[in-house]
Symmetry: D2
């Protein structure tokens, strides 16, 4: 529950290790790497390993340290591994959907872990079933496994390249077979995926923070449509499918990625600071302090404060111990106004003009609650600024932004939203402000902001 219920919800993180020596403990490295990617998914975690012959897997519901205990790792010998963390939703969370997905087919035993979302998953699933396939989960990883199994090709790389012809959408994939680890990225490069290196191993990971966790060296982002294959012989990277321009999900910068990660050459924290700076320029305001909606608004709030010349402060204290098993308060207690997660620092904000900076608004309920708290705590005024444009369109590439009916910005204009959340002012970052702040030379997917989708939608 650490990540916000009222935030876009990320679709997973992937991690893989291709050791070049039997002494590489691929499951332990995957444990640390997945733990560094925990912010990308808290629902389930899994690691598959190969000792060169046999592939073993362990997965379960919960955080990485909840799923893996000491003996679990030692039961996963081998120097090749692929791992996955999955995001947490309220319903429909089942062990069957935990990844990696493992199966045996004519290409051998294969484990697949996937970040992203295929837009043609439904039709693909139907077509596969027509041809006799059985689906045991609702994960896109299993679809990849079926495409591999049905490819006429006799080697996994060729089979993967062939499979990429059939799928449309976002996929950053790591694939483990007995003797190799393969990573690949969809032709638009919608979800991130990086390649790194340790003394005796190649690493693939959703974000660079997982390389840092292992003190691994960053090699490069895997490019759109590229496939990397690591074996004991070494690493090869090839253009598996042609790629036009990239369409990297802009919300990786705005919200998903860890601030210490570097995506396509840009550090996430610094990009977020620039978002805050741009926001401050777009909305000159006279205020006593700038605070962040914890924790995702911190970087942008610092940037806003600096650019606006208003002191940054921490006006909301956050309880960091909340976990999956927290007992929700009864309706009666909620009516009493119990506060589980956030508490305003009243002596700080009392009689002050407060600017609060958040990264985004999805449904608006949390924003309303936060503004209300600050008012109750005595703030003279509360202006809210959002470090991204309004989210008006659904995402089909792996982010759960709720359905369009729940997107407040798809229903109301900014004035109405301001009234709904009870702020004295509300400002969203402009699209231009966003693009120039991100400043990556690569293309971005802005579909949830503009409605212009980079792929067909099936």
């Amino acid at each position: 529950m650490e990540r916000g219920f009222d935030k876009p919800r990320e679709g997973c993180g992937v991690f893989a290790v291709a050791g070049r020596s039997p002494s590489v403990a691929a499951s332990q490295l995957a444990y640390l790497g997945l733990f560094a990617l925990q912010h990308r998914g808290q629902e389930s975690a899994g690691i598959a390993v190969s000792d060169g012959t046999t592939i073993r897997i362990h997965k379960g519901m919960g955080l990485v340290p909840e799923v893996f205990k000491g003996e679990d790792l030692s039961g996963l010998p081998g120097c090749l591994s692929a791992g996955h963390v999955r995001y947490s939703t309220t319903g429909g969370s089942r062990l069957e959907n935990a990844q990696p997905i493992l199966g045996t087919c004519r290409l051998g035993t294969i484990a697949v872990a996937h970040n992203g979302n295929l837009v043609n998953a439904r039709s693909l699933s139907r077509a596969l079933q027509e041809e006799g396939a059985i689906l045991q989960s609702s994960s896109d990883s299993e679809l990849f496994l079926h495409l591999l199994a049905r490819s006429g090709r006799r080697d996994i790389e060729s089979a993967l390249i062939q499979s990429m012809q059939s799928v449309v959408g976002a996929y950053s994939l790591v694939v483990l077979s007995a003797d190799r680890v393969i990573a690949l990225r969809d032709p638009l490069g919608i979800r991130p995926l990086v390649v790194g290196e340790m003394e005796d191993a190649y690493i693939f990971a959703s974000e660079t923070c997982a390389l840092d966790a292992l003190n691994a060296r960053f090699i490069r982002d895997l490019g759109p449509g590229e496939m990397a294959c690591a074996t004991r012989e070494g690493l090869t990277i090839s253009q598996a499918v042609p790629s036009g321009k990239q369409a990297l999900c802009v919300f990786e910068f705005i919200y998903f990625a860890r601030p210490d990660s570097i995506i396509e050459g840009s550090n996430v924290h610094i990009v977020r600071k620039r978002l805050g700076e741009a926001l401050a320029r777009e909305y000159p305001v006279d205020a006593d302090m700038v605070i962040a909606a914890p924790d995702s608004g911190i970087s942008a709030a610092i940037g806003f404060a600096e650019a606006a010349g208003i002191p940054y402060d921490t006006g909301l204290a956050r309880n960091r111990y909340i976990g999956r098993t927290f007992i929700r308060p009864t309706q009666e207690m909620r009516e009493m106004g119990v506060k589980i997660k956030l508490n305003p620092i009243s002596d700080l904000v009392r009689d002050k003009r407060v600017v609060i900076v958040d990264d985004s608004i999805v449904r608006g309920t949390t924003s309303a609650k936060t503004v209300g708290m600050l008012r109750s705590a005595g703030a003279r005024s509360v202006h809210m600024y959002i470090a991204s444009p309004p989210i008006r369109f659904p995402c089909f590439y792996g982010i759960d932004t709720s359905d369009q009916g729940q997107l407040i910005a798809a229903q109301l204009d900014t004035g109405d939203i301001q009234r709904r959340i009870g702020a004295d002012g509300l400002g969203y970052l402009s699209l231009d402000g966003l693009i120039s702040a991100v400043g990556t030379s690569k293309g971005l997917c802005l579909a949830c902001l503009t409605g212009e989708y980079p792929t067909e939608l099936c």
Copy 2:
């Protein structure tokens, strides 16, 4: 593991509810209140409740949401409760020491929960055993229970007052009997304890943040040597033992308490900002950014940055998912330099002159590691400033500051410490700076800084 291994370690939080109506769900309120006090202890948690006749208890190892599941609370009916969270140490953590401690004696069945440390626990324990007592735990709560049981008095309040004659040290205590809740505080008021009120209940808590969690109204701090007794008839507060001047543990302000709590009239976050401001005044420095040692240095760092006119930033990303069950990396992995908890944002600190502000140093190992990380990330210089004077003396009142041999400031002078941790500069806040920043009219216990203990030491 959320709280620092290389920090002073707090000795627990207490919480109690005295409902005036049978409809008050005292166990649910205690659950929320203890959760708000979770930062004071992560080792074990427990709640005892009374339904007017029977006292029931549930306690276990772990965080509040790990110890209590839905059915556990519904098995604790009643409108009176007393709860406890206990701190986490590496060894010696046993269920027997979880509190509240429950026992039946001539005064009836009584539950006791205690924050603090008795300096005469050993001699008291020996004397009690000589008189025939059996001790089933090593907790001071059990000693109170024995004193109550052996008092000649026929009512709990008198027995408690009598018991207070026998004990020396720090104790903020909540006591539950079938029909009442009693709270009391040692004559020096070493540990905090506050009284609050909801529509139908009185609340006692270690910190005001637990009142805020329930949306309860703050009444006042319980004074040194005071005892409060809440029954269905109402609340009475009396001076149980005479009190000279107060000796409130200054580390409640510096490190333990949550930033949103108010202690003796002062908001903790604001006090910490003032510590940072004073520190900036004592150490004028030319630098590019001020960062905090996360998370305990944040408030002071913001104050420092403001006073020094240097931008505040977040130079270290923190992994928030670490929990009790995290599998420690092998020695081999530690040598590889794996990073579990903190990662510097290299693109931010590279070639920059960085000031890092922390609240305190105990053993210095974490400080050295953090400075090292910033250097590896390319910082041109790293100056560390500490928002408290050096800890040179052990605490006997409930804080585990390690034994004196491990206190780096008891062994080395500041210059040596600076070299040890590898910083380009190191400055501690002066004692005067500390006192004026705290600015409370009440007396403070500064024993770990000055060696002047407010009680005899037995």
Copy 3:
């Protein structure tokens, strides 16, 4: 660990409910039915249910009452169910192999639970993989699911009939789809399967004892090659594939089935008594008492005692509390002669001539230990009689009789075995004695005794 390590090991039990009214709690009935079949498998248990639209499943490692807790059953609504218990082996026990196996294919979502073993599983699996199938477990149930998914047929019954053309071996199958429950039995009827009826539901079960548990009425054994389909409209039974003569596994009578079950018209306990009577006639012996190897030898021992006119007694006390998690004694303790499970009643057997009757011998290690115990307890002589002929050949139809190299009777003749186990006499029942004692009009599979297999072996 309740069932013997040194015994043939059964391959599972199946159970299904087809309620004719929404009020039938199919998961609760399956729970009770599977619990009655627990002797057929202690490794894992699972129940799938359909509420007419959605199929849900819960499965896990362990005994039925360990896998299912109260809330698990209430999370399985619906009046149709299929369940499974799986046998316990030392290695290779994995959750992935727990049944029922659930998958979605062009025929919809289907759950399959299987008792038996396909002799062409390997070649079938290879062929399916060649055609693009992915196998996620090593269970034969998954093979059936693949055959169903690949059948050109549009209804499950036809698809099942077609699938039966492709498989060779033993299968008593229950299949659950959204709106129906289907049961079928291989053309030789190797494993048992019965049909029963309650007020509002049809029941399929491996043994009649599961019908008795629900107080359900026995309708009839499902015949070899028959398929039964139960929907809300009623029950139809048809001859799915032609069947020559039956080849019912004789070890269902000798060892597997519960004594209160009735197989093909014969009560198991009474058959076993007749085995013991026949044995007594074949080996006239002068002795003081007849005891049973607990518990599987009891029925035969009673029959032997009656026929021989020697008193039956219980010479070995058995500890009934042993479970999956028992900590095995160290090598050192085993050398001390610690006794976990059995203890002779020394005062009873001392100086007595003891006959011990067991149902079968697989590896002989337990027999040797038991004879040794009785000798140490002072028995003057120990004669062992076995209520079945020697097991000389491996089973390919779902019984784990160890590989042939471990079958003592495949290596040694009876005299050598007698010396190996240290008995004063050893006698196996003759094949003729067995056949006439079983006395069923239906044909039996005697392959493990004779080496004549009723199917090709692939």
Copy 4:
């Protein structure tokens, strides 16, 4: 739930090891010994060990193999141990009452485990509380601990002897201190306690079956009022308090003890057979078969069958897998007649005159159900014979025979009971028959049969 709900319920088993060499793994031996005593208590289990200096303890709810996992035993180093199993009741089972009870007092740290019941527990508890004691459980063991702590004596043996002056009732006690293990038995020897020996250790146990489990040599029963003390120097046994004649609980023979145990020189199984023989002589009957109420009636049924010249058979199949967590069937299902535990073998009893032998009747509900089952299965007649006289009086020495209002024989005469349970005949063993069958030279406690209690009742 393995032991009958409608049976007298035993109050616990005790076990202790006094190794004479540091290599003795006292916790592992205790684990095996307690497992052999599991029939005496299934509610909780615990082991305390001493390594000569420190006493450690592990206890929990459930069966021995559920409470202790591999690492739990290795966390209990030392060559001295004391352990306990506690019986299972429906309510009031709490971890606080699990034994051994551990405490530190002026005699050092001591663990106490107790089988039996003090009749003056209440007044003792009140008196102790008046003197300032705190009681943390409702176990008699804690009372002993208080008496030890309050004794003026400076050594544990003297303190124990003094304590024995204060208590009235049944107690077979094992006591562990840092350097010794002490066992003692009340002056009437109500509960059993034996002394045994291994190569390097002395053993104390409730029953000899626990010695057999370790392959330990039986030395002798500890006599009434005797105390044994084992240290590294050796074993001493002394008469701690004077003893008149013994009053051994006769239900140890009738029901509680394991059939392979030897109590005061008599093997339990053989005694039970004699009870059955005596019963057959008292009730000559013409019948087709004698069956046992499983499992407690088996020995007596065999004896009855032999003496009556009627064949013994097993007419009721029992499901052995039932455990603590079994989900009770709903009321609706109970009305359907679901059978969880027992199932008659209909083909065996149909049209037969059946004699069923049970060891005792407490409330009669199970007897009625069993008789009903046999009738439904087609038995022509069902005669029930009970291998003990009617239980008409409550036990105050550690057996839960329900309160007198629930004892069917305290309410109804035999004819009425026969009608109530629906049998064609019902016969209880006579008191003389019982006494001569038990045939021990030692005195017996027959209080629940005669109302003559061997102690004052307080």
